[in-house]
């Protein structure tokens, strides 16, 4: 929402710069070439392809988002969102979002251990990941990339802590085909990265970044699920006409196009504000996240449904997308809790 009082005129420019287009195209090309659906299937149930991950790291997927001081390229959240969208489009079995957000959080901490963890990740080692919920004594949480990560960045009371361990935790099978693990901070090396308000701030920023990038990944996922559905309907016929010419099929697909195109722009806008003026529109991150989650649910539902019985079979690639639409979007908990977060911003606004 814009300010109701006083005058403020903002640009409304969703176009990508040439540089941004190059970044997107390069990663799109990489993912398309390296990660066909067969590779996604081969990585199940763990949801991790170590070679793919190492190749992606070599391409700079992690380092690009780090500040130059930390050996990175200082790419913006918009750039990272573009990469995340391509990652989501092919369902790449790599911990892209977790590794990037954790590494960026670590880069904001000036400890030796943080620097070492970043170096490890950039060398293609098992990366650090981010615990999405603050540590609560006595309870465990499902940790994204937990089954492959070597370290965990977590908020524990007033401290931001890096927990490192010898071996990743046991994988928990899940519908999303993600490398989840149950995690609680026990028996691992523990180093405080930051404390007090700084700790909370770094954690909040990391969580917001995780949500923006996951939203972008969900947009890519939704877009491809839609494409799979639409392509199917171009070639199949009933009653002597292609089913895609029937409004009962084409209109739901158009609805998905409507939702995906809006979710893409909203997510990129959230990324822009996150990068340039994080305090100006704090509601954009929960908006982008809740919207992308809803969009991915819709797109995979429709993309599957328009393929009829065939879309529902395991052989159909759209089922890979269907399972991850929810699998990715509920990782931090109920996506509609984001609505309350938006409402809280509204309630607090002048």
């Amino acid at each position: 929402m814009t300010d109701a009082t006083g005058f403020e005129l903002r640009r409304n420019d969703y176009s990508l710069s040439e540089d941004q287009e190059s970044v997107r195209d390069a990663f799109a090309e990489f993912f398309t070439a390296e990660c066909p659906a067969t590779r996604v299937r081969a990585a199940e149930p763990l949801g991790y392809d170590e070679r793919l991950w190492q190749d992606l790291v070599k391409m700079g997927a992690v380092s690009m988002g780090l500040p130059e001081a930390a050996g990175g390229d200082g790419a913006t959240m918009v750039d990272l969102a573009l990469v995340a969208e391509e990652y989501g489009r092919v369902l790449a079995p790599v911990p892209f979002v977790e590794a990037v957000t954790a590494a960026r959080a670590l880069a904001r901490c000036e400890t030796e251990q943080a620097a070492r963890s970043i170096t490890d990740t950039m060398a293609g080692q098992a990366p650090a990941t981010l615990a999405l919920h603050p540590v609560t004594a006595g309870t465990r949480q499902l940790l994204p990339a937990g089954a492959i990560a070597a370290a965990v960045v977590a908020l524990d009371g007033d401290d931001l802590v890096l927990y490192t361990r010898e071996d990743p935790a046991a994988h928990v099978p899940n519908q999303g085909g993600a490398p989840l693990a149950w995690w609680r901070p026990s028996g691992a090396a523990r180093e405080v990265l930051a404390t007090g308000p700084a700790a909370r701030e770094i954690f909040d920023a990391a969580l917001a970044e995780w949500k923006v990038l996951t939203a972008a990944a969900l947009v890519g996922l939704a877009d491809e699920a839609k494409r799979l559905g639409a392509e199917f309907t171009k070639t199949r016929s009933t009653m002597g006409v292609p089913i895609g010419s029937l409004q009962g099929v084409s209109h739901p697909l158009a609805t998905v196009e409507i939702e995906v195109s809006g979710a893409r722009n909203l997510t990129r806008k959230a990324a822009w504000f996150r990068e340039h003026e994080p305090a100006a529109r704090p509601e954009l991150v929960p908006m982008a996240y809740a919207n992308a989650a809803r969009c991915a649910t819709l797109a995979t539902r429709v993309g599957l449904h328009v393929q009829g019985g065939l879309g529902f079979t395991l052989e159909s690639d759209v089922t890979l997308y269907f399972r991850r639409a929810k699998g990715w979007s509920v990782l931090p908990g109920d996506p509609s809790d984001e609505l309350l977060a938006i409402g809280d911003v509204l309630a607090a606004s002048a």
Binding site: P173, G176, T238, A293, G308, L314, R323, S329, S336
Partner: protein, 402 residues
């Protein structure tokens, strides 16, 4: 209008106890385990045990292999089996086809089959859809060509669920490609052990197994023809209408639509979510159920399930499916990632019910015709809207290549 309790006298109570005993003995954890592994929705021992009880055709008299149950007892049996999650797809297709067999098969064939069906030795599956045909069953291209007393069948069918556990498939074939689309079809009961029949498994994201069935020069005696040559559409109509409109048993006990058992399953899922909301703890120590947003969302889910159960005929068929999908997705959202841990995973909730329901739900909008097919039926038959004219709605020739 009547929703009153059925009075349970001693006799009925004894019957309920008998059913529950039976279920405890035969619908065991091993049966569920097999079902999760195979997805076949069939268990041979259970099916035979039902047959031994006369419960495959429960209302028929004992001399026809039934148990002579009245409608109330039959309903008790249905609901208890359903509540126990007994695998029953093949039981359902067998019953569905039997009606057509008794009406259209040669008397000696019917006389041979009925007792075997009642015992559980003979099961039927549905050979309707074809790989290229989508929901337009009448566009069937599987060919049956007559040569004296024999027919030779060539073609393929998809979504023949239960073929691996059945003795016959209720097959729709094209016997005259020159006649109008609906008028050149003939139905057969094809023995699945015939040479040339090949069954290939297909697995769904819902965990079910179905099949593609190939027919390569399959020879079938004319004895297995059901109804007149080129009169197959009429033979199919009964079972198909049952699938499309629901049985419509107007006995004051039956479901309004055939999706009701799915809806009741989801009713149990909503109840499971309420249990979760009452027992789970959030980081601040509160229970989800203490949160009015959670209660309102559970309220919406319960409402949608109740409304879907109250929606009649083909309308109910769509409402149930779409509610299944919507509510299953909503419960996953509400609960979070633990809802996606399948049966057996560390920390899975309610035996993996939420994970399962979300995957399973998608198929319910497709089985027996997609929701679009049912919306067409509602538009034309209930609202009386004009029927769309497609190039291939009448003539087969135009649907070639489709």
């Amino acid at each position: 209008m009547d929703f009153s309790r059925i009075e349970v006298d001693d006799d009925l109570a004894a019957f309920v106890a008998e059913v529950r005993d039976f279920i405890a003995t035969h619908v065991t954890e091993e049966v569920h385990e097999e079902e999760r592994r195979t997805g076949g929705s069939f268990n041979l021992a259970l099916h035979k045990a039902l047959g031994a009880k006369g419960w495959i055709l429960p209302r028929r008299p004992p001399e026809q292999g039934g148990a002579g149950l009245d409608r109330v007892r039959e309903r008790v049996l249905e609901l208890e089996m359903e509540r126990a999650g007994a695998p029953d797809i093949t039981l359902g297709t067998t019953r569905l086809v039997l009606t057509a067999v008794e009406k259209y098969a040669a008397p000696d064939l019917a006389a041979e089959l009925v007792p075997k069906v009642a015992r559980g030795d003979v099961r039927f599956c549905l050979g309707y859809s074809e790989p290229d045909g989508g929901s337009d069953i009448a566009a069937a291209r599987t060919r049956a060509v007559r040569d004296g007393d024999q027919w030779t069948i060539n073609g393929q069918k998809i979504f023949t669920t239960g073929a691996q556990n059945c003795q016959y498939t209720f097959l729709i074939t094209r016997t005259d490609p020159d006649l109008p689309k609906h008028k050149g079809l003939t139905m057969f009961l094809v023995p699945l052990d015939s040479p040339g029949v090949e069954i290939g498994p297909i697995h769904t994201v819902g965990g079910e197994r179905t099949n593609v069935v190939y027919y390569g020069d399959v020879c079938v005696s004319d004895r297995y023809r059901l109804g007149p040559v080129n009169g197959g559409w009429g033979v199919l109509r009964g079972p198909l209408d049952e699938e499309h409109f629901g049985a419509g048993h107007d006995d004051g006990l039956s479901d309004l639509g055939i999706g009701s058992s799915w809806a009741r399953r989801q009713e149990r899922d909503v109840r499971a979510a309420v249990r979760w909301a009452r027992t789970a703890r959030r980081p601040d120590g509160s229970r989800p159920i203490d949160d009015p947003r959670v209660r309102a969302r559970l309220g919406q889910a319960a409402l949608d399930v109740e409304a879907s159960l109250a929606t009649p005929g083909p309308m109910g068929r769509v409402r149930v499916s779409e509610t299944m999908i919507e509510v299953a997705a909503g419960l996953v959202d509400l609960i979070g990632p633990e809802a996606l841990l399948p049966h057996g995973a560390d920390g899975c909730l309610e035996d993996g019910a939420f994970d399962y329901a979300h995957r399973f739900a998608q198929g319910t909008a497709i089985y027996g015709g997609t929701t679009e097919v049912f919306r067409n039926i509602i538009a034309q038959h209930v609202l009386g809207l004009p029927r769309p004219v497609y190039p291939g709605s009448r003539k087969l020739a135009d649907s070639r290549g489709s």
